[in-house]
Each structure stands twice: as C-alpha cells, then as structure tokens.
Symmetry: C2
Subunit: 241 residues, 2 copies
Amino acid sequence: MNWAEFSPEQRSGLYRAIYERRDIRVFRDDPVPPETLARIIRAAHRGPSVGFMQPWDFILVSDVETRVRVKDLFERERQAAAQFFDHSRRSQYLSLKLEGIMEAPVNLCVTCDPTRGEEVLGRNSVPETDLYSTCCAVQNLWLAARAEGLGVGWVSILKLPRLRRILGIPPHVVPVAYLCLGYPVEFHARPVLQAVGWRDRLPLSDLVHYEGWGQQTGNGAWSEVREALASNKEPDPWKRE
Amino acid sequence: MNWAEFSPEQRSGLYRAIYERRDIRVFRDDPVPPETLARIIRAAHRGPSVGFMQPWDFILVSDVETRVRVKDLFERERQAAAQFFDHSRRSQYLSLKLEGIMEAPVNLCVTCDPTRGEEVLGRNSVPETDLYSTCCAVQNLWLAARAEGLGVGWVSILKLPRLRRILGIPPHVVPVAYLCLGYPVEFHARPVLQAVGWRDRLPLSDLVHYEGWGQQTGNGAWSEVREALASNKEPDPWKRE
C-alpha cells in the first residue's frame, strides 16, 4: 500500500512540531480534554519498537498527595545536584524553574518493561533497544502534544528507586520519563537553557562526519550535503531560532 | 512568544507521519537529494536533550567497502541471534528481511557522546538521559523522513564494539542507531512483524494505569480518558491500521 504524498501544509505541520517543541515548565490551569490526552497517548503507542515489543506503559497522575511526594523527591535531587556546580553556575542553576509538577493538570510517567516478550527479535545485540524504543514513543507524544497546543516538560531530576516506590512500579520496570502536561503560558522561541546563556546550540556541521568518525570535510559525493547543511536553507514556516 | 495554532492540515501532517512511519528494509535506488537529507538531519538536531547537551553525532556512510563490512557484521549477528529462537520461529526469523544496508543509498549512524559538556544539568540522577536524548533525535529524523516520502530502517542487530571499529568511533561514544535511508518501494499499512503474525499490537487500554501502577479501572476524573482511549475516535486522515 502506498500512501499519498504529504501536502506542503502537512509537511510544515510536522516540521513546525519539531522546531516549536519546547520543554515546558510553566502551565496554565486549563484542564486537558480527555480526547486530546487520549490522542497524544495513542501517538506514543505508535512509536517504533524493537521486535514490535511495545515495552511501554503509561501511568497518569493527578492526585495531589502523589504529586507532593514527587515534587519533594525532585527538590531533594535538585539540591543534591547543585553541589556539583561551581558557585556562579550553582546560583544560576537554582534560579531556574525546571518542572511544573504541581501546576500541570496532568503528570504522566512513561515506563519500560524489559521483560515484555520473551525473546525479542532484534534485541539480542543491544538489550537497551527497549529503552530506546520507549524514548521514541515519548518523542511521538511530545510532538503530538505540540501540534495540539499542549506543553510537555520532562523531569529528569528524580531518583528512580524512590519514584518507583511512590508510583508502585515493580523493581524490574524502568521509569523512563516523568512528564508534566498541560497548556503552557507560552511556547518560547528558544530553549530556556539557550535563552539564559547556559549552553549554546552546537553548530550542526561540527556534528556530521562523512564515511567515518572524524572525517568532516565531506569530499566527493558528500560535498553537496555539506553545503546544504551549512547553508541552512529551511523552508519558511519552520525557519526560526 | 506565542506561535499560531496548528491548522487542521498541519496537525494531520504530524499525525500522518506518526501513523504512517514504518521500519523500511526495501529501497528503490533513487538517490536522496542533498537538501532533503540536510533537512532531516537538521530535524534530528532539533531533538530535545537533557541540559541542552546535544550529545549526538551523525556519521554518513555510502562507501561500498564499509557497508560490506557492516552487512557482514549484521549477518553474523543475525545467525547468532537465531540460536535463541525455537525451531518454527527460527525459520520464520531467518526468512524475514531485516535491513537494507547495501541497497539503501545512504547509511547513517547516530551516536551519543556521554562526555559532551562537563556537568550536564538534569543528568545527575539518571545518566542514561544522554542516550534518551539521542533516541528522541532519531525519532525526529524518522518522522521528518516520512513526511519527505523517505524511508528509514533501524538496524539493531549489530555488535557495537565491531561497529565502532568499522566506523572509527572512539570507545567512549555509543553508536545508538544504525539507520538505512532511501526511498522505499512501499510504505506498508502495518508493521511487518504485525503483518506476518510475529507479534500483535498490544491493546492500549492494557498499558494505561491511573494514579499508580496496576490501577487500570480509571475511576473518577480518569473515566472520560479511559473511555476516549477505548473508543479510539481518531480523526479521519490518520485512522488507519
């Protein structure tokens, strides 16, 4: 079966979602319509998975008491992590708002069950492909959310054994992503860490190698690709910084 | 800055890419235009990353000798992995076409450098978030490729130490995804492993938990979400199996 080509407008929708997706930490308190929430979870379930393993589960959380416990866990970890930054970076780090656990109307933990399916086709060489699959599913959800005008923030500053205990997750299941979901106050033009000068976006040409690691001149067949990457001629709807 | 809402057509483009993305193993030999290739690599570079770490690199490969070595590595691994399947599954496994290393006009290895950026904000609790970020970038690329009519196949049946040697990748850098890229002969309606009866798609309602692991009845606030997930009312353009 062959699908129709994407229209330019459909293509721009895909690229808009990619370019305008942000990690959202400030939420309005409007609720998320059940149909919308179902749509973005379904998008995650359409993620690619090694051997069609579909190792993911989704735990939806709104209960205040549970969120207070997750927020407390985050706060301890945030302070612990601060110790590893030197003075000036530490105060900047502590000034950043990094999550919206209590404000977001929906919290969602996406997990990976490494035991799903006995012998999984394609997972013999790299067992971590179950986690990789789960991350691809999360990215589907994140982009679908963006297209729905919905913000997603990934809270990675959490110790997993405690998070398991709070959510009752079995020891063998990996909590891959703890997400905060809701309508954002705004979608910023640039990632927060870029805007506040924490880190710059890396020049893409430094990250592309031709035929082998460290070969970055891109002679012969690759010279046009290298030029295209350097010239960065993006179609209008998604040319934004 | 607030962006405009997505038009229904743009939204359908995003969902089409998600629903119609496939793991492609059969390629036409048309070349990939340099501009298109640059566009999908740029889409990957717009992936989310922990602490804006951007841990990825991209190694483009077309050299036949290199691909012969990767294909040989795949073949050994494929045979090795076959030992773990029982008789009937083993012959089915060995009958499946699982990669297009030699036929695809472009091979692309996406790697993760765990040493990029000294102390990475948000990576203290879960160091694997660098790999997670790289996978999100791969999913961006995969979806952008789909919107461009381009197929991507992820070859996970490769031993990483040998793959590193073939591509000259330093020992500390993780080859996360070895991808085959090109125009597909077709985009199948369903994933190959589903179509051949290897594994079924799991019912989504079995994978959603409410307020804690194992709580799947979704009472109270969640009953509407549970109904929406069960009814599966997807807008037309992406209602396909």
